[in-house]
């Protein structure tokens, strides 16, 4: 059955996980059987590449292409790993959780096929520490998969074997950065690693490793089962497939929905999220989680496509939007985000470790009406300090995105705070109190 919403087809309104029986009854594990019986590993890689699936973890890199960098075939290192990034700590993001809690087998099947494609011998799901329910359900589903011969030795009677483990994170946003994740998985400090070498060449315990986002991997079984053309056809615009989009903030119906790539922002906010709550107007929004640049109402008609959002000056990120309304202090919102990033900085490189706390402090001062115009320059300087390449990993450049766009979009609000010596939003009792 070719669903138009393949990722959520097994997800109903009730908070229960699809059992393996339900999953199989709805076409589950067909992709795996097809891959194992009719495809060589390289076919899997090529098929995924042809499907133009782009990573759903934030960076949007072509998944099949990423896999193709793994040394495979004869003479390549015998031990390779697949790691699922289920850390999902990006502010405002709650899509992977849904997929794992409600349809764990979809992820498991996707991982088995992916592991087959890259010739991995072991796979890990590195899951955010707070995701107890998802981890429990995954562990249960993995047991089921072993019982049904989808995991373990000689999967489905073939020569392919794979073990899959769930690793619960000790909790740190940086653990979502793929190389810091690998360090954490190895039991080391969760500091990112220098690239190159890329994980595909030297990853987990120095072995070739692919790290993919939960949602990315959930697409795999459908691509294999239904083919790349079908997959590309799911998208409305330039990008292929469907995606889980989410909205949080003062909308009537916050949540997450599977929609075609290229669905317009307006449709997502106004139709699916039910539009703004009564009495609130949309002032701006972060289109793809806490580390993307603000966009404004003028961008509502843009399609949620990687390139379209990129051209508008922001990023698709995780595809989960955070809405800023007209009665919430934008400085407070940014300050709150910066507080998160400052705290979550791994502490390895200077501009992030020492810059973000300073940013947070300045924003706190400004928000409380104790700021000065000179401090705006300092914020701009900090944004510059944290440009991509200036820091060791992408956390700080990501953190700088909402700040840099806020400095431009909300200059008036910043100056208001400074000139009035207080927060103009305070009277309205809608100061941003934190996510």
């Amino acid at each position: 059955m070719k669903a138009s919403t393949p990722l959520t087809k097994n997800i109903g309104p009730e908070n229960i996980a699809a059992t393996i029986e339900q999953y199989q009854a709805n076409g589950g594990y067909a992709g795996l059987k097809k891959a194992l019986s009719t495809m060589q590993p390289n076919d899997v890689v090529e098929t995924v590449q042809a499907a133009n699936l782009r990573g759903r973890g934030g960076a949007g890199f072509n998944t099949g292409l990423k896999w193709s960098f793994v040394p495979r075939g004869e003479g390549s290192p015998a031990t390779k790993y697949l790691v699922c990034n289920a850390d999902e700590m990006e502010p405002g993001t709650f899509k992977d959780r849904l997929l794992m809690e409600r349809d764990p087998h979809q992820l498991i099947e996707g991982m088995i096929i992916s592991a087959y494609g890259i010739e991995a011998v072991r796979a890990y799901i590195f899951i955010r520490g707070e995701y107890h329910l998802a981890a429990d359900r995954l562990e249960h589903a993995i047991e089921e998969a072993y019982e049904h011969g989808y995991l373990g030795h000689n999967i489905c009677g073939t020569k392919f074997s794979l073990d899959l483990y769930v690793h619960r994170s000790a909790g740190n946003y940086i653990c979502g950065e793929e190389t810091a994740l690998l360090n954490a998985l190895e039991g080391k400090r969760a500091n990112p690693r220098a690239k190159p070498p890329f994980p595909q060449v030297s990853g987990l315990w120095g072995k070739p490793t692919v790290v993919n986002n939960v949602e990315t991997l959930c697409n795999i079984s459908h691509i294999i089962a239904n083919g790349p053309e079908w997959y590309r056809g799911l998208g409305k615009g330039a990008d292929a497939g469907t995606k889980l989009f989410g909205v949080s903030g003062r909308v009537k119906n916050p949540g997450t929905w599977e929609l075609p790539m290229g669905t317009s922002i307006r449709e997502i906010i106004e139709l699916h999220a039910g539009g703004m709550q009564d009495g609130y107007k949309l002032k701006a929004f972060l289109p793809g989680g806490g580390s993307t640049d603000f966009l404004g109402p003028e961008h509502l008609d843009l399609p949620m496509d990687y390139d379209a959002i990129g051209k508008a000056g922001s990023r698709m990120g995780t595809g989960t939007m955070i809405i800023l309304d007209d009665k919430t202090c934008p400085i407070g919102m940014v300050r709150n985000l910066m507080r998160f990033f400052a705290k979550e900085s791994c502490g390895f490189c200077t501009p992030c470790r020492d810059g973000l706390p300073w940013v947070e402090k300045i924003l706190t001062d400004i928000e409380q009406g104790k700021g000065s115009v000179r401090e705006l320059d300092q914020l701009a300087q900090q944004v510059w300090n944290m440009r991509p390449g200036n820091t060791f990993c992408a956390l700080a450049p990501g953190a700088a995105e909402p700040l840099q766009s806020a400095l431009k979009m909300f200059r008036k609000e910043f100056l208001d705070h400074i000139e009035r010596g207080c927060c103009p939003y305070e009277a309205a009792e809608t100061r941003f109190v934190g996510a």
């Binding site: 220098a194 120095g206 900085s345 791994c346 502490g347 300073w358 390449g389």
Partner: protein, 962 residues
Amino acid sequence: MPKIKIDGKEYEVEAGQNLLHTCLSLGLDLPYFCWHPEMGSVGACRQCAVTQYANEEDERGRLVMGCMTPVTDGGIYSIGDQSAQDFRSAVIEDLMTNHPHDCPVCEEGGECHLQDMTEMSGHTVRYYEGSKRTHVNQDLGPFINHEMNRCITCYRCVRYYREYAGGTDLAALGRNYQVYFGRQQDGALESEFAGNLVEVCPTGVFTDKTFSGHYARKWDLQTAPSVCNHCAVGCNTTPGERYGALRRVVNRYHGDINGYFLCDRGRFGYEYVNSELRLKRVLGAAEKDLLATTATKDTKVFPEISPQKGVQKLAELLSPDSARQVIGIGSPRATLENNFALRQFVGDENFYLGVSPRAASLMEGCKSLHASPDTRSPTIPDIEAADAVFILGEDVSNTAPRVALALRQSVRNAVLDKARKLKIPTWQDAAVRQLDDGERSPLFIAATEPTRLADVVSGLLVAAPQDLARFGFAVAHTIDPSAPAVTGLSQPQQRAAVQVAEWLMSARNPLLVTGSGCQSEDIIEASRNITRALAKHRAAPVNTCIVQPEANSLGLSLLQPETPTAHQQHLMQVAQLVEENQEAGLGTCLVILENDLFTRIDPHIAERLIRGAKTVVVLDVLLTGTTQRADLIFPASAVVESQGTFVSNEGRAQHFYPVYEGSDYIQESWRWLADAALYFCQHNTEFPPHIEAMANWEHTADVDAALQNAVPGLAGISEIPPDRNFRISGLKVARQTHRYSGRTAMYANLCVAEKKQPVDDDSPLSYSMEGAHSEAPPALASSSWAPGWNSNQSINKFQDEVGGHLRGGESGLRLTLEEAGSDSGWKTEIPNAFAADPEQLLIVPRYCVFGSDELSNEAPGVRELSARAKLLVSSLDADRLDIRNHDRVGLQIRDQDLELDAELCADLPAGMVCLPMGIPGLPHIDLDISAYAGLRLVQRAATAPVSRNPSPDIAPETGGQQ
């Protein structure tokens, strides 16, 4: 060689390096923190940013981190580009948000890399107005201060301590701006290389606690190039003095020896020089009847006598007197010059080595192994480059610590090779370490205990010395079947021998490490067979690191006179001689040079020897057991107050200079002897030519000239030190920095007239701030300084490339010890296997980095840690005797009864114990005489104490292989 452009200028540079390394090697200034020449790049601090341009047309460029960017042919870079400068200055500003700016009270001040780099970045105005994060500091033991608020989070300390030096008890803890570098709880840092943190940390977080006790700014210290005298590695040091006291010791870079790092014995052992036991004046024992009334039996009373009187008494020994014999007892801790002067003073035939018979024969064995055409002695970089290492019977972590640190690097060659194959530059430190899959260049240790390197071995055999020797013979036989075979080896040992042989034979740079640490000649003999077999196989000599315990052990053995009658002139012979003379009615006069006989031979024999002597003259640095029994005592200068030469394990003769003049009447021992010779010649009409020659010795160079004439093996040593007339543009090299402060006022509390600076006409150095500074050649350069570079990192400016060799040549002379036709064939005497006796346990010597060195034991910090030395007991024996870890045990050795704490070891075979040697408070056990002991439990340990040197937590299988 790639051609690159930096700020418009073209350079031809080394391929494969990173840009920071390249810039610094070119002499360009680019600030950095996290990178270290010895530890490579991690890209943490972001201080080394430069602008890289895509091509000539690219005007904007982009920022890259110098340390993380490989130089590429045609690369165009700019250090001076405004955005790069702005960024570097912004990084400083960020770092400074949490730095306390407490330079005036910070001990790093004046030699602080953070100060230098801050200046270099040009950042001056700080806008941060918030509060700073603060940390609680820890007590890290007697050597190192901890002031975490100053931390700039560069990660150098943990990278050095954990990854480079193999320590486990210092870590980066926590995250974000609050990362904490410390231990899990207060306590002495466990690594014997912890002291390097003081130099590795670019700020004042880790500083030298011993220095704090008598602190002075770096620029106020008077320094001279010196050599560590606490073991035979011969690390180069820069001791610093002020107000006549030795304040500290820091590393002095030597590209072939210590590089950037010392061990803690060498760094912190210096305080013996300031000890209360220091001899400063000439003392003569009072007459015997006085003694009988005022002092307890055998304790002497020492009134001070004038130096002239003392010299006169010493000169009396030179008058021919058929009723007595004058015997000189030399010392492996005294310089070549001092030993040679004594030898000349008493005559070749009356010169004795000052060590036990076993030690003398081991010295001889080591010397001849050095001289063998099958061996070549490796430098420390050679050791680091070894791709297969076999350690036979030596616990280098405790007998030659710096070598152990180098061996720890050698095991990484396999990973470095892997990185090269994957095209990952070896300076990409984190990435290379990530590749480490447990593969190592083989390091096999055959020793009497697992040793501190056990965590990186590929195989380990713990056995009694005779079994180690047998194993060594078996390895030699495996390499070359014509070498004698060993019968009765256990299966695992046999397999291990084959494995070791294979490793050594297939390696590009195999290395054998051996030495006298087990006090076993058999081990030296076995080593001889191994090197002979391997040299034949390779058709080239084998790198062989031959470890001896003391700073000048090898040098002393070269001074052993070539008289046919006196093959081995050791202390037992002296004892015998004294008794023979007594019986014959002859008096024996002993002149003992810098040697405490009670730590060398059985104390009873030392006692008899001294008691039987008619007169005992001692020249020494400290008041020792032997000095206390002397009739005449001369204060000798410590190494830091001397000019002289040691011969290191490597066979490198190294010359060092006094940092300051010893106080009172302290002078080099040879000067006392030469003074006596002069006195004798002045007051007699007839004198032998060698005494007359001595009387004319005025300068160290005179002794060296005589020395190289008399001792063929030492040819060339008088050319090592730049001549005392050496000048740079007419100037001597200044011992004081150009910023030395307060000179005119230093002693104003005593006398308002400016104290006259001592004149040094013995060396090309001056006791002054006037003179040449940074122009000095390496042999004369005690500390490096360049404009803008006040910290130790200034050494960059004096190397041919950073981390490479010193421009102007590494100091010291590698002696050629090779004797023509010295191939003595295979050694065929294979010892019998060790047979355990439950009643009489074999005593095996155990050396302790803190505790087994006589002089450093007088440094309070070293003494504190040496008190923790333990008796290593096999778990098998312990079970039998109901002894548990840390229990107090008694060791009955003939009539001696020792008590100390036990440390259990599962790897140790039953029937032997390893007894710490030289520990203050424990009597010396002469293993030549008493090799067996009974063991018993004395007292159960209350709670397990935290030990500084815990046994390694991995226990590789005994006799196993990977």
